[in-house]
């Protein structure tokens, strides 16, 4: 069944598509980080309308499937004049979807900082923004790095979803090769192994990081 010659012959093509997979993951991740941080700040706003609206948006996005959101961005948006390339649509979809999860991580990280830190910042006359940047955020970030790292790995493993909106990442590449040769076993196996080889060591690294950060505290 398994043909080694065939497997090695398709390997270069699949590996070259890995660039797309990895860049989609990272760009989506960075978008998720930025948006997630903005959401977590807005959700705590004193202006009721803002915090309620943001909370509503977050709940809506978290409770609908990423795939549905991707279809909307790629197939429905053009009807209202927004036509996006598969990569852009994919990164937007993944980024926005996961920003809602990251905003929860940021929010709980922010709430874990003792109220006294805010009060001392006020007593020393830091402006709100100065307090955020110099005092609060540096305390928020280290404890949440392991969780955020895990989300990065999750997003990486979700990139095959982008094949549904025609992005040629590694799964789509294997599928196209398979359709041409009628051999699917080698292609999909290689894709599975690539994901495993990249995800597993990363998740172990994060576990180590978690232990190291836990020991520090």
């Amino acid at each position: 069944m398994w043909n080694w010659d065939y497997a090695f012959s398709i390997l270069p093509q699949i590996l070259s598509a890995l660039k797309i997979t990895i860049s989609a993951t990272f760009v989506g991740f960075i978008l998720a980080l930025f948006l997630g941080l903005i959401f977590s700040v807005l959700v705590r706003s004193d202006i009721k309308i803002v915090s309620l609206a943001v909370r509503g948006i977050i709940q809506f996005i978290r409770n609908t499937p990423l795939l549905v959101q991707l279809y909307f961005i790629f197939y429905v948006f053009p009807k209202i004049g927004i036509s996006l390339k598969p990569f852009t649509a994919g990164v937007l979809g993944v980024g926005i979807h996961y920003s809602t999860y990251l905003s929860e991580v940021f929010r709980s990280g922010i709430e874990a900082v003792p109220a006294g830190q805010w009060e001392v910042a006020k007593a020393l006359n830091f402006s709100h923004i100065q307090a955020w940047i110099k005092i609060i955020l540096p305390q928020v970030i280290p404890p949440i790095i392991p969780v955020i790292g895990n989300y990065l790995i999750t997003m990486f493993k979700e990139t095959p979803l982008l094949s549904a909106i025609t992005l040629v990442e590694i799964l789509q590449t294997a599928k196209i090769l398979g359709a041409g040769s009628f051999r699917y076993l080698e292609g999909f196996t290689i894709v599975g192994i690539i994901f495993f080889l990249l995800s597993y060591p990363s998740s172990q690294l994060i576990k180590k990081l978690e232990v190291r950060l836990g020991a520090k505290n």
């Binding site: 830190q117 001392v120 006020k122 020393l124 006359n125 402006s127 540096p138 305390q139």
Partner: protein, 255 residues
């Protein structure tokens, strides 16, 4: 003499509980005032209102003759905006019961941060002033240490240095030694005493350390259930308490 801080008809309520009831209270420049009284009597709230951590429900607080919580906009008195509050806060500093040092910064950085970020001092100048202040509180050998490695008494001394380096005209101490193990209380009180004796900074000290209050206060105010039940000269107050409430409160401190 005009008061440097003045509370006029100040009331503060939390839910159903009236924590401060129509308080009139003045503090004069250079005065060291001790606030004593049972928990929940309103003394901490009084300090927090001054430090703009809470807003009074009614009444006026004046600091250096300026309205703290209100400002004049187009001839009308409106609730003060952040810009006004930040201007007012320049004169006030506070030391908290639980220190609240910045855990992610060394002792030196803790004391340097506000002068650099808030006052805009150069790193060199901030470092110089921080080192001087830390020497004053006896922690020159701990500059590069992180708060987690300090004892409670050391942490509080850093907190005091951090507040003092901002050169406030009015310093608030909210039960500075209440969270400390007994053997560490003395080192902090010694630092506060030194500050009290050598500077004409106005100081408001909320404390349960009666001997300490007797030693450095010019005036003592006894808070009970949201009002100032008795106030006056420390000697007089401690030795001849007039109100029954103060008498019973003080009796708990006499072994």
């Amino acid at each position: 003499m005009t008061p440097i801080v003045s509370y006029q008809n100040v009331t503060k309520t939390y839910g159903d509980l009236e924590v401060l009831k129509d308080i009139d209270f003045n503090i004069y420049p250079g005065e060291k005032v001790a606030l004593i009284g049972p928990s929940g009597s309103g003394k901490t709230t009084l300090a927090r209102l001054l430090m703009t951590l809470e807003e009074p429900d009614s009444g006026i607080i004046e600091v250096e003759n300026k309205n703290l919580w209100q400002e004049e906009v187009g001839g009308e008195l409106v609730k003060a905006k952040e810009k006004h509050l930040r201007e007012m806060r320049k004169s006030i500093g506070m030391v908290f019961q639980h220190f609240y040092l910045f855990p992610h910064m060394t002792v030196l950085k803790n004391v340097m941060e506000a002068p650099m970020t808030v006052l805009g001092l150069s790193k060199k100048k901030a470092r110089q002033q921080a080192e001087e202040m830390l020497e004053k509180v006896g922690l020159s050998d701990k500059l590069d240490v992180y708060p987690a490695q300090l004892s409670g008494g050391q942490k509080q001394r850093v907190a005091i240095a951090r507040a003092l380096v901002m050169k406030p005209n009015i310093m608030l101490f909210d039960e500075p030694t209440s969270a400390l193990d007994p053997e560490l209380v003395g080192e902090v009180l010694d630092v506060i005493k030194e500050i009290a004796f050598e500077s004409d900074m106005t100081m408001l000290l909320i404390t349960h350390e009666m001997d300490f209050a007797k030693e450095i206060a010019d005036r003592v105010a006894f808070f009970n259930e949201g009002i100032i039940a008795e106030q006056g000269d420390p000697e007089e107050l401690f030795n001849n308490p007039k109100t029954p409430r103060l008498q019973s409160f003080l009796s708990r401190f006499n072994s």
